[in-house]
Symmetry: C2
Amino acid sequence: MALIVQKYGGTSVGTIERIKNVADRVIRTQREGSQVVVVVSAMAGKTDELIGLANEITRTPDPREMDVLLATGEQVSIALLSMALKEKGVEARSYLGGQAGIITDDAFGKARIQSIAAEAIKRDLDAGRVVVVAGFQGIDEQNNITTLGRGGSDTTAVALAAALKADICEIYTDVEGVFTTDPNVYRKARKIEKISYEEMLEMSSMGAKVLQIRSVEFAKKYNVVLHVRSSFTDEPGTIVCQEDEEMEDVLVSGVTYNKNEAKITIKNLPDRPGIAARIFSEIGKANIVVDMIIQTPSTQGGHANLTFTVPIGDYEQTLKITEKLARELDAGDVVGYEDIAKISIIGVGMRSHTNIASKMFEALANEGINIMMISTSEIKISCLIEQKYTELAVRALHDAFELDKPPREDT
Amino acid sequence: MALIVQKYGGTSVGTIERIKNVADRVIRTQREGSQVVVVVSAMAGKTDELIGLANEITRTPDPREMDVLLATGEQVSIALLSMALKEKGVEARSYLGGQAGIITDDAFGKARIQSIAAEAIKRDLDAGRVVVVAGFQGIDEQNNITTLGRGGSDTTAVALAAALKADICEIYTDVEGVFTTDPNVYRKARKIEKISYEEMLEMSSMGAKVLQIRSVEFAKKYNVVLHVRSSFTDEPGTIVCQEDEEMEDVLVSGVTYNKNEAKITIKNLPDRPGIAARIFSEIGKANIVVDMIIQTPSTQGGHANLTFTVPIGDYEQTLKITEKLARELDAGDVVGYEDIAKISIIGVGMRSHTNIASKMFEALANEGINIMMISTSEIKISCLIEQKYTELAVRALHDAFELDKPPREDT
């Protein structure tokens, strides 16, 4: 008998009507002969409502108490879904994170799962029950409630699928799957049938919001096959799994963009060993993650210009740190620029195909788009451009790599 | 160092502003040199909102899941109050029912506390922390969430006060204390300074909504001194404690009324041994609690009329059961009547004073109010009257026993 973990996001359980629909889908899956574990998020809007209450009290809520507060969102969902299942005549039982045996570290608000003791769930499944688990939450070893951070319900689902050795983990969301690019930006965006964990990780970190990165890492580590699909249709979505030969035939799987970075340049930095390390270690101490970096020779001899990007939310703080450092290091002006976008093409096929980078640069050049910075990984090439060209660049790259055509026709 | 348990009801934590006020009061109590355990209810309206969600799914929600759902209300309150305390610079820690070691039976929705393991709370108190406990909830031995039923937060507070051997248990509510009668019915109603557990129990069961009966039983059993007071003023409220000599000097402590019963009469019941037992055992099987009972000879020889009262919510069902029984037992008509009220006077002084009943009947007679049924206990006399005379009767009795005058002037 197959064991399926299904995860439903906040939109999928956003109203009582939708919760009833989820119940119908769960029941259908069970009737088709599978054991079903359902992981649910808080009803859409609920988490923001709770955060709003906390913020009326303080701008800096105690992290432990914040987790106690936020965990109620998923608790409401599991109770309501279990009631709906029982109302439809199906035996079901709700599990809080702690009841499901999900033990995490004690990093409130961003806890990491350390172990899962799923015996109770297994017993309920074997007794024919549907098991409904609160996503996003666990308990630490001192029995404190913890939460896994935004999108943590995906991680809960994948971790449970791994612990239960489930056949598949279905992630139900409000989009139909993973697309070659944002369909809001380009109407030719095509739903991807199958994608590797590595590509999915790059897509997620590049701004595709479908899956939380940590859940994909988890799936990759434990080889859990994911099926990302819509809770509003019966169409198949996108399978996320281990790379196979077929995938390598595809040059580029997707085009992503990210408008949430800003660029900072330190001019005329004395070109001495250890200076860059000093700068990035100071920024790192402030828990700011630097993304792209380039160093170019300055027109002033023995000096260099150092440019890097940081998340837009950390921009002001990074600017302050950098300006202070520039004075200390006897460097020139610090120049910040926010109106940038990072455009990336992603594909495992890059490993075995050449000339993909040049094809990308050419496509951008044909549209008159200047490239400010470039960074590459084994399966990704990113270019920093003026933000106003974002959509134009996405469409140009999508066309250049013929992403609107299904991969089978390519080969 | 004194240990004080404070319980704040839903109205007292009904808004963020009020939660902040509660935090101020808790901090003041701690600064005055006490260890403080705070028990809170769900924010006013929250529980009804959750019940509303469940009722959108089903009229008969699964009891286990209902408790999972309802327990979130108090969980939100403890998180917010703990945040508010920390924001004001006071160390605090929230406890769910289960975390506080409150173990109950598994009667979902009306669970009874079986034990409290309060070691963790004691450690936090000794470390100088304010401990904030979710009222109304616990866990059973299988780690399922349970709730204690409406008003259960009072019980949580009293049970914790007993387990921690607290010096006093303060019940903060939206009224100033226990009154000689409902101030909405008679403006001369006076706040009672001190009242015995027994009187409080009778007052509660007769419709005074200040304290949940079970919490008073608990307080009596473990001799926990209660202080019922308003969270909106600094005025002392009403102390509920063991009976003392002073209390015996008071003839009557309060007048209560209850409009939530209905009366049923079976006419011409064959007057045979065991017939009344048969009737009340059938009604009891339906979990309906009969209150007052009288049997009077019928005009038809060898027959009797049997009259009794039941809660208005059980009226229709009782009528059906009774009509069926009447046919089986070859009795006459069954007559129901809903427009009744039960008026009671309560006072431990009745034990040592005579003529209180006759004074009550006289006061009612003087207003032309007919008495349909009478029941008495050691410290209470109740009369069933036409509902339309309720307020008139309350005021007449309040005047007759001079309840507007403080007891010290009486003696």
